[in-house]
């Protein structure tokens, strides 16, 4: 075999492998989603949303974990988003060239991918242990700590994308800096900042590890944030590892709900950021 055909052959092999790798990657996505639909869809009914988690062997739904997850998520976003947006604003507007910004950006990027179970341990140490009991508040704080880095990152990126002429022209009209940011920068970067919040919601709605020893779980219906509160991911964890077939079934249904909620959120976020960029 001469040099040319050997090179051509090697090229073809690598290109085939790369097509194969892409097929494997996409196939895996289809496989996971397919399994979820196959296992979960048959059990999906109205009762899932209106009835409480059952004892083993009885009928029931996922009402209390769904409510719990919604409460925790809303609270976490309510705590984390303002802090995240403010910090991102400082980094992109006031402290663009400050040393603090460089350090915070670096630390924030590390927090962004730090193991979430460590966040759970941290909140356990500062909230659960001193208070003496697990609580919904602790769970919400743990999730908020995961929201913050995501929002900081996207807010900073989006504000930095704005053309500086926008700020200059507002300033030249005599607007103070704080007003320029609030009425011009925020408005121009709105789609991007909302994208960041949506991505953060997508990220925390499936988080389990930080809730295991903060919000714990509650088999009864409870909206008391001072007591342990049930959440969808923790219930999936508990039910899936249980030996009862009907609990496992509910775990699959919960998994289906979470996955499609998360995928819908991230696709919305993508569509939003794409439309923001083109306009």
């Amino acid at each position: 075999m001469n040099l040319y055909s050997r090179r051509r052959l090697r090229n073809r092999v690598v290109l085939l492998l790369s097509v194969g790798a892409t097929v494997i990657g996409l196939g895996w996505l289809v496989l996971i989603l397919g399994t979820l639909v196959y296992q979960g869809l048959s059990g999906l009914s109205l009762a899932v949303f209106t009835e409480m988690t059952p004892p083993p062997g009885a009928d029931g739904g996922l009402l209390n974990p769904i409510i719990g997850s919604l409460m925790l998520t809303i609270l976490a976003v309510a705590i984390g988003t303002p802090i995240g947006i403010m910090a991102g604003t400082y980094m992109a507007e006031y402290g663009k060239y400050a040393k603090l910004t460089v350090v915070v950006r670096f630390i924030n990027d590390i927090l962004l991918s730090a193991p979430s179970i460590v966040v759970g341990l941290f909140v356990y140490e500062i909230l659960v242990a001193p208070m003496g009991h697990f609580s919904g508040w602790a769970g919400a704080v743990a999730l908020a700590l995961i929201v913050i880095p995501v929002v900081v990152r996207t807010t900073e990126d989006m504000l930095l994308l704005l053309p500086k002429e926008l700020r200059e022209s507002a300033t030249s009209l005599g607007l103070p800096r704080a007003y320029v940011i609030r009425f011009v920068s925020y408005r121009a970067a709105r789609a991007g900042i909302i994208t960041g919040v949506l991505l953060a919601i997508a990220r925390i709605s499936g988080e389990t590890a930080p809730l295991l020893f903060t919000a714990l779980n509650n088999q009864f219906f409870s909206t008391n944030l001072n007591a342990p509160i049930s959440s969808l991911p923790v219930v999936i964890f508990q039910f899936a590892l249980s030996p009862y077939a009907d609990w496992q079934k509910l775990a699959w249904i919960g998994a289906l709900i979470i996955t499609f909620a998360v995928l819908a959120l991230s696709i919305t976020a993508r569509a939003l950021s794409a439309s923001g960029k083109s306009s």
Partner: protein, 300 residues
């Protein structure tokens, strides 16, 4: 001014959170570290009854599962990036890229439940008996693939981690591949290089730092991943040469035992595990960020 200072305070809060995490973990793990000292790192025993704890088995499991994950995810991710940048028709680029990134969006507990009920039984029937058959008669490798096919175990955990890390490696590699100046590639194509030769000799050397950064970022994920691993690792506190055997990782140990831990020293030993995990991932992620920052500076 008020607005200025409150944004600054929020930025400083991010720093306080990180230092708070470090301080809280150190404080929480002090009792265990005082009781066991340096031995905590090299002791294999993990016995809640006699309150003797050592972190070696979870550390070993964490490293082995992450290694398996990276061995699979890095080549696959690079090949996907190659496909997306060099082969894929432009109108398909975005949909396929988004689909691969969606893999990263699936919550880890979903990987766990899928791994336990769908993937592990499949491996138990197919891949694992196959590996045992093939390598059973080769001296060293036979001990790596030894034992009954449980389905769950370190190999299964590593494979699941590989799928979870793949989108990170693939999408960052794609981004840095795209940042290679077209002139360089065109020059190489112009002297008659094949696509593979262009990627091998022009794209990869140019994008090296960025790719390594992406790989380290993926590694950081794999090391700290909790729920998916907890489902399929088997949670056995022992070190075995066979990757088919059940094991445990740092995060799986914490997730499984923390709420059931009785006694200060037990809780403290688990927090010390968390501290070790945080230290390892901090170093890996910091290195990844520094490398990616270097390439950003070059591009920007």
């Amino acid at each position: 001014m008020l607005f200025h200072h409150s944004t600054r305070a929020a930025a400083i809060l991010v720093l306080i959170i990180l230092s708070g995490v470090i301080i809280a973990l150190i404080q929480g793990s002090l009792p265990a570290l005082q009781a066991f000292g340096f031995n905590f790192l090299i002791e294999e025993r993990w016995n809640p009854v006699t309150e003797r704890f050592g972190a070696l088995a979870p550390i070993y499991g964490t490293l082995v599962t992450s290694l398996i994950a990276m061995l699979i995810a890095v080549p696959l991710g690079l090949l996907i990036a190659l496909f997306l940048t060099e082969l894929c028709p432009p109108w398909l680029r975005r949909p396929i890229g988004v689909a691969i990134e969606l893999l990263a969006g699936i919550p880890s507990i979903i990987y766990g439940i899928w791994g336990l009920f769908a993937f592990a039984p499949f491996l138990q029937r197919t891949l694992q008996p196959f590996l045992i058959d093939i390598f059973g008669s080769i001296p060293v490798l036979s001990s790596v693939f030894e034992g009954p096919p449980y389905g769950i175990g370190m190999l299964t955990a590593g494979l699941i981690l590989a799928v979870m890390v793949l989108p990170f490696v693939a999408s960052i590699s794609r981004d840095v591949f795209e940042a290679v100046p077209p002139v360089l590639k065109e020059a190489a194509y112009g002297v008659g290089c094949t696509t593979w030769e262009v990627v091998r000799n022009v794209v990869l050397p140019y994008a090296r730092v960025g790719v390594i950064g992406g790989v380290m970022l993926g590694l950081g994920r794999a090391l700290g991943e909790t729920m998916a691993v907890t489902f399929v690792i088997g949670n056995a506190h022992r070190i075995s040469a066979s990757i088919l055997a059940p094991g445990t990782t740092i995060s799986a140990t914490i997730a499984n035992e923390f709420t059931e831990a009785v006694g200060d020293i037990y809780t403290s030993a688990l927090i010390a595990l968390g501290l070790i995990l945080f230290a390892i991932t901090f170093i890996v992620l910091a290195a990844a960020r520094l490398m990616l920052m270097r390439i950003e500076r070059r591009v920007g």
